[in-house]
């Protein structure tokens, strides 16, 4: 056997060059692939919703019976679930939350029972709560029509408490239409107190108006004090909507003072639209001081925005008892836009003393806060000293600090006699002026009469200035002749 002829040097060089070309070519192709892959592959890939980097962690997929998922061959599944999958699985760019919701709602409303669990899985996994929650409502509204028991079991398996409550509520709202007693019995035996609370509140909105006395009795027996109060409040609201006089009588008969007060508050607020005078008179004559003071104040304030004329007439015509300062003060604050002539005319109808002072002080406080301290002062200047007047003077001081000239405020403050009233006015002035005119503000504070209030106002306002401007505040502190050495040391500390 002849040995193979040794290839020539040229042939060897040729083979080497060919080999080299192959390697270079492969490297080039590899590099090209790398670059194209790096730049374009991620953009080309269509990420399925399930593999979104931040899948909704909260609404864990309920345990789906495997039979449901496996027993139904894909072709048998409805078009609805496919449409739902497609819309919910689309990239976020394609639609706003409203569009997604609108596009899904139709599909959900036509889903067959077999597709309920897969649909629930798709919906609870959707990352946007403003899409997820309304779709859950739709799903369970449909599901309960097809299979109430199954819907309830599925609703209970949702993890997120808010989503669970919404789902359970949809089922129960349908259930009470067919068997109210059974639905409530089921609610009564719930051991999840948070869910029970959410469900009771919602169901009472549906049921309490039909049989308020029955549900009032039921709510009063609840052992959880928070749930009991919440339920009684809800019954009161629904009862007042249907039959306000009966609800009022029921609330007034309550023996536990706090419950009675809370229920009266709800019922009177509901009734105030229809018969405001009855409501005001009822609250003003109630034996409970809190109803006369706090609740009446809220009612008057609320009504002043709706119908100021009725309120003014009631104030003028009613023989108000002396302890109604607070409601009148609150009402005057809301009526301030009527102008000082009307307010003064109303005030003259009130008996002299606390009631009139509370009314005028409230009005002055609101007028000053609205930026007209001179008019406010017209209402206040002839009033005797009172806590209400002091509050109003504080607001006047703050309003004068916003005046375009410092002279106006200085003239007004200087004209006040040294007193607790002047101290209040200075404190109000300083609270606003410290930002723009800190030296002036502190000079005024140094003139306050009450030592403890002066000290408190000094340290509070000086600290504010010091935070804003350390050097200027310290320079003023050491230079001012208005403070004693002890006060300076205390402030410097």
């Amino acid at each position: 056997m002849n040995p193979e002829p040794k290839p020539s040097a040229w042939a060897q060089i040729g083979a080497f060059v060919l080999q080299l070309i192959r390697v270079v070519l492969k490297c080039a192709v590899l590099g090209f692939g790398l670059v194209v892959g790096f730049l374009y592959l991620p953009q080309l890939s269509e990420p399925p919703v399930a593999s979104t980097p931040n899948p909704e962690p909260s609404a864990a997929l309920p345990a789906v019976p495997s039979t449901i998922l496996t027993a139904i061959p894909a072709p048998m599944r409805s078009a609805g679930i496919d449409a739902l999958r497609q819309v919910l699985g689309e990239r976020q760019a394609s639609a706003t939350k409203y569009q997604v919701r609108d596009r899904c709602t139709g599909s959900v409303r036509e889903l067959p029972l077999a597709d309920m669990y897969p649909a629930l899985g798709l919906i609870v996994r959707h990352p946007m709560p403003y899409v997820r929650l309304p779709l859950l409502d739709e799903l369970f509204t449909r599901w309960v029509v097809l299979d109430r028991e199954g819907a309830l079991a599925a609703a209970l398996s949702v993890m997120s408490p808010q989503a669970k409550a919404r789902a359970v509520n949809r089922v129960l709202e349908a259930w009470v239409k067919t068997d109210e007693a059974a639905a409530w019995a089921w609610v009564g035996q719930l051991d999840d107190s948070i869910l029970q609370s959410a469900v009771v509140n919602r169901l009472l909105t549906r049921c309490a108006a039909q049989a308020p006395a029955h549900y009032a009795e039921w709510a009063a027996t609840l052992s959880d004090p928070f749930l009991r109060r919440q339920s009684l409040d809800r019954v009161a609201i629904e009862w007042a909507r249907r039959d306000a006089p009966a609800a009022l009588a029921w609330a007034q008969q309550q023996t536990e003072p706090n419950t009675r007060r809370a229920l009266l508050s709800e019922v009177l607020a509901a009734l105030s639209n229809r018969d405001p005078k009855l409501v005001f008179n009822t609250a003003a004559s109630d034996p409970d001081a809190a109803v006369r003071h706090d609740i009446l104040a809220q009612l008057l304030e609320l009504h002043s925005r709706r119908d100021a004329a009725t309120l003014l007439a009631w104030i003028a015509q009613t023989n108000l008892t002396a302890d109604l300062q607070q409601p009148l003060n609150a009402a005057a604050k809301s009526l301030a836009s009527l102008g000082i002539t009307k307010l003064q005319a109303t005030a003259t109808r009130l008996p002299e003393g606390p009631l009139r002072e509370a009314f005028l002080s409230g009005a002055a406080e609101a007028i000053a806060s609205a930026g007209d301290p001179q008019s406010a002062w017209l209402l206040l200047q002839n009033l005797a000293a009172s806590v209400e007047k002091n509050s109003a003077l504080w607001s006047l001081g703050a309003a004068f600090a916003s005046s375009p000239t410092t002279q106006e405020a200085a003239n007004w403050l200087s004209a006040l006699p040294a007193s607790q009233e002047r101290d209040s006015a200075i404190a109000g002035y300083a609270s606003k002026a410290i930002a723009e005119k800190p030296q002036l503000a502190l000079d005024w504070i140094a003139q306050m009469q009450n030592a403890s209030e002066r000290s408190a106002a000094l340290s509070e306002n000086f600290a504010r200035w010091h935070r804003a401007s350390k050097g200027a505040s310290m320079a003023w502190l050491w230079a001012t002749p208005r403070l004693s050495a002890a006060e300076k040391k205390a402030l410097a500390r």
Binding site: L34, L227, Q420
Partner: protein, 361 residues
């Protein structure tokens, strides 16, 4: 030299394999990197890299080509870029882009933009954007409304996000608006998260929940939570809110806690919560309870007394005046404070008629 049969097929196949391998590797690197191409690179980084390119003319040419990209680093452009990543289903890339920003002013503006679009996003994405802000105060201020709304819509999701954060990064501010939503979670779930917090932060969060638990309507849950966390109402860490709201619905229980508590700041905290509920209906009784505050030396008791008398004077001046001049008023209200009310607020001393003497025989 004759080519072997199938040689061309072999060559073509190996080239194809190279191409596939290259595509796969490139794609994988790009995805793993979590960032896109040049738009994700800060301008300063690009400019620094170009400075190393030799040749003035070449550098100028590169800069001329890259100039249009510079505005990408403006906040609105980065935001738009982030949005496009989010919309294309790449939230991780969007966040990576945000975290890669060197200019914190731009990063803050971009994160704020993402948070502002909370309702059109996955809340986790908005929260992650907020948490990427480096300045702590800005971070917390941006994160707080996100967590509050998230917890209100989906307490479980917000809880899981908080659970995923390292314990040392959890701050009280994160829970401030979120407690009403989080209070809807079971004690079992909440206690796990809260146990990771520092004890004082844990107590503050539970107290925040006490403030809103009555609206959620589950006393049993909040009580169980406190039991699990070994927080007693008489410990001084939770108390005011608890007493305030419990006194409203179950005053007997709130009162029994105060009575059981030894004199301490904790007892005073509970008592003040109870007093705030009581004072709505019975000022005198509230002032009686105020007198039981144990904090004799400080301004707590005097301040509480002054606050109540002031409120009473605003409510029913006459009755308050009578009380201030009565033996009870003398006993419960400090002398100097009473003098201040009378002189400072111009409250005149009333002429209270003595009980009429029995008629002379």
């Amino acid at each position: 030299m004759q080519p072997r049969p199938g040689r061309l097929v072999h060559e073509f196949t190996s080239l194809l394999l190279c191409l596939i391998l290259g595509l796969a590797l490139g794609g994988a690197v790009s995805i793993a990197d979590g960032r896109g191409w040049l738009p994700a690179l800060p301008w300063t980084r690009i400019a620094a890299a170009v400075q190393h390119v030799p040749g003035e003319e070449i550098r100028r040419a590169i800069f001329l080509r890259l100039r249009p990209m510079q505005p990408l680093l403006r906040a609105e452009d980065v935001s738009a870029n982030m949005r496009s990543y989010w919309e294309a289903g790449h939230p991780k890339r969007a966040l990576k882009l945000l975290r890669g920003l060197k200019d914190q002013a731009v990063a803050y503006a971009v994160a704020r933009d993402a948070v502002g679009r909370f309702r059109d996003l996955d809340p986790r994405f908005a929260a992650e954007a907020a948490i990427s802000i480096q300045n702590e105060a800005l971070r917390l201020a941006t994160l707080r409304p996100v967590l509050a709304e998230w917890a209100a819509l989906d307490a479980e999701g917000a809880w899981q996000f908080l659970e995923s954060l390292p314990a040392e990064s959890l701050r009280e501010e994160m829970f401030l608006g979120a407690t009403p939503g989080l209070a809807r979670l079971s004690a079992d779930r909440l206690s796990g998260l809260l146990l990771r917090l520092r004890p004082e932060l844990r107590a503050a969060v539970v107290e925040g929940m006490n403030e809103t638990a009555w609206q959620v309507g589950a006393w049993s849950n909040i009580y169980e939570l406190m039991e699990r966390l070994n927080l007693r109402p008489t410990d001084g860490v939770v108390g005011f809110q608890l007493a305030l709201h419990l006194a409203e619905v179950e005053p007997g229980l709130a009162q029994s806690w105060i009575e059981q508590a030894p004199p301490s700041i904790a007892r005073d905290t509970l008592a003040i919560g109870y007093i705030r509920s009581l004072e709505k209906s019975d000022r005198k009784l509230a002032l009686e309870w105020t007198a039981t505050l144990t904090d004799d030396g400080s301004t707590l008791k005097a301040g509480e007394c002054a606050r109540q008398v002031r409120a009473w004077l605003l409510e029913d001046r006459h009755t308050a005046q009578v009380w201030l001049q009565s033996d009870e008023g003398e006993r419960l209200c400090p002398l100097e404070k009473r003098a201040e009310w009378f002189s400072g607020y111009g409250i005149p001393l009333l002429e209270i008629p003595e009980p009429s003497a029995p008629a002379a025989p």
